[in-house]
């Protein structure tokens, strides 16, 4: 989906990203790991087209990112920011319906889609609530449904990309499981997910791929089953810890990094 080649971003005297080349594929969940200030946010903002690049190019679905019309891009790429309120008040279903703005469909069609996916993602009970009255966790689940509605054309999410910035920061354990389950669903439908999260253990077990960033450069990138190792994490975060393996059953094991 996203194809970065030799991307360099400089702000003032500081090089925020240095010669970064990365590929984000369809049907994958990629977690970007790195210490504060390593360049995770800069990378994200570049994918969102917020920064002019000093060098290199970002291609999205085969075309340079800056050649897209906002309208076309909005049907292929959605962004979920950290949970925050601060809206003028409106009802949740009204908010969700706005996600269908760029599609030519009747009010009833978009409303039916809102109802369908609210049901599928278990937020129907929130639809008549005011968005300003929601908890951070509820808001984040609604944001996921909003992003899903924004990208939905058919149930095939191939060539659709979802960017999430610390999605679990306001969630409790149950809500986190719920959201991560939804993300898996999106991935299995062919979607590409790129995620920044500070809880490296939670996100590493969710992700299919990992990208380690340090001082604006890519340390390592690849399948998370191979890259979630003591050596990589120690190097990336300048810590010294251990990996604890928890065998859930013969097929599945959870890895935990522990300092």
């Amino acid at each position: 989906m996203f194809n970065l080649s030799a991307v360099t971003v400089v702000a003032g005297q500081k090089t925020l990203l240095n010669d970064v080349s990365l590929v984000f594929k369809s049907n994958s969940i990629t977690a970007i790991l790195g210490a504060n200030g390593a360049g995770k946010s800069t990378l994200f903002k570049s994918l969102l087209g917020e920064y002019p690049l000093n060098k290199g190019i970002i291609k999205f679905d085969g075309r340079p990112l800056d050649e897209y019309l906002l309208k076309d891009l909005s049907k292929k790429r959605a962004y979920i920011a950290q949970a925050k309120t601060g809206f003028f008040s409106m009802l949740v279903y009204e908010y969700l319906q706005l996600a269908r703005l760029q599609y030519y469909e009747t009010d009833e069609q978009s409303q039916n889609l809102v109802l369908k996916f609210s049901d599928q993602f278990h937020i129907t009970h929130l639809l008549m609530r005011d968005v300003t009255q929601l908890s951070g966790g509820e808001l984040q689940l609604i944001e996921f449904v909003r992003a899903y509605l924004q990208l939905y054309e058919t149930s095939n999410m191939h060539n659709k990309c979802l960017l999430l910035d610390e999605p679990a920061s306001a969630l409790d354990i149950k809500q986190t499981r719920l959201l991560y389950g939804h993300l898996k669903t999106f991935q299995r439908a062919g979607g590409c997910i790129i995620i920044i999260d500070h809880d490296i253990n939670a996100v590493a077990n969710l992700a299919t791929n990992l990208v380690y960033i340090k001082l604006g450069e890519v340390l390592a990138t690849g399948a998370s089953s191979e890259l979630f190792t003591k050596a990589h994490i120690d190097d990336c975060f300048d810590t010294s810890g251990q990996i604890i393996v928890h065998k859930a059953n013969s097929l599945h094991e959870n890895k935990m990094y522990h300092v």
Binding site: K71, D72, S74, Y79, F88, L91, A99, L101, Q102, S118
Partner: protein, 346 residues
């Protein structure tokens, strides 16, 4: 499906509200037509179909255009306030905040000062002040956009700060003009900046109708992008809204509406700020509801205020700006106290 029913009920819920406001507006129009220094009984008129030529003139050539103008400008100022608050994501935004009204006042003041020393032909006299006000409003907007707009987008905070600065600058220059002119002109400028609907005719009414009606139609068309922008400008962009274009066009439309409203009637303060808030608290914040209710409520408020302005101390007229504030401020305070909890959109 239960939720579907709830949504259907909720969506139809605003129809009675709109109908009620329309009815109130009509009632206010009747009261306003009836009230005034000269007694004209409109009921008797409808009954018998006869009236003296004087009454005819008063009703159709003086009161009717004046009342329509109050409604039109009230609606225009209120809708501008609602839209600016959405775009700036700031409940304090109103047409006065971005400096458009005060720049109009400055140029109108300058025009009045000029007229006190230079003789112009009568026709030019009539339109010189409104035209100057219009030029002032437009110039201030161009200046504002020059400062706040850049290729990356328009920074809302810079927009508001620049607006405040332009406001202060215009007020200072107006103070300077007021300091140097003679007493009669000073009085004229003071009255102009407090607003008056005296002497409105069908020409000024028609000139005002065009931008207000077209502007209201445009804002209705872009209500959904505006809603997204009122949540978050960045997110609106990621959801496919050309935020820079929407902002730029909206500001031009706001300036055009404010310019024509202010040009003919002076500054009717307070309407753009408070009417959207009252409507939000009473009827809801979704622009689908807020835009029509603001239009109707703005029209009602200003029409009512103007009726009071010209009937309270017959034969004199109180500046309408004072009335809108006197009626609006206590009502606004009452609503704030009653609905304190609902202020969580700040």
């Amino acid at each position: 499906m239960l939720v579907k029913k709830q949504i259907a009920i909720q969506q139809k819920g605003y129809v009675p509200t709109i109908m009620m406001l329309c009815a109130v507006l009509l009632a206010v129009a009747f009261i306003a037509l009836n009230a005034g220094a000269v007694k004209v009984n409109i009921w008797q008129w409808i009954g018998s179909g006869s009236a003296s030529p004087l009454q005819h003139t008063i009703l159709w050539d003086i009161r009717l255009p004046r009342i329509l103008m109050t409604m039109l400008t009230g609606a225009g100022l209120a809708i501008c306030g609602a839209v600016l608050q959405a775009i700036c994501r700031n409940p304090l935004a109103d047409p006065g905040l971005i400096g458009v009204s005060s720049s109009a006042a400055l140029c109108a003041g300058a025009a009045l000062a000029l007229l006190s020393v230079v003789q112009l032909p009568p026709l030019a006299m009539t339109y010189f002040v409104p035209l100057s006000a219009f030029v002032g409003a437009t110039l201030s907007l161009i200046l504002l956009l020059k400062i706040a707009d850049s290729a990356q987008g328009m920074n809302t905070l810079v927009l508001i700060l620049a607006g405040v600065a332009i406001n202060a600058g215009a007020m200072t220059l107006l103070g300077l003009i007021q300091y140097v002119v003679d007493d009669a002109t000073l009085r004229q400028i003071t009255f102009w900046s407090m607003g008056s609907y005296a002497g409105i005719n069908y020409t000024s009414l028609s000139i005002t109708t065009v931008p207000v009606v077209l502007g209201a139609y445009y804002f209705w068309q872009i209500r959904h992008p505006l809603m997204l922008m009122s949540c978050s400008e960045k997110q609106a962009k990621y959801q496919g809204v050309n935020t820079r274009k929407v902002k730029l066009t909206s500001l031009w439309v706001v300036a055009a509406i404010v310019a024509v409203c202010v040009s003919f009637t002076g500054i009717v303060g307070f309407v753009g700020l408070v009417v959207p808030h009252i409507c939000r608290m009473l009827f809801g914040a979704h622009l689908r509801i807020l835009l029509p209710t603001s239009i109707l409520f703005g029209a009602i408020l200003v029409a009512l205020a103007d009726t009071l302005a010209r009937t309270l101390i017959i034969p004199a007229e109180i500046p309408i700006g004072l009335i809108t504030s006197m009626v609006g401020v206590p009502f606004f305070l009452y609503l704030i106290v009653r609905e304190k909890r609902k202020f969580n959109y700040v």
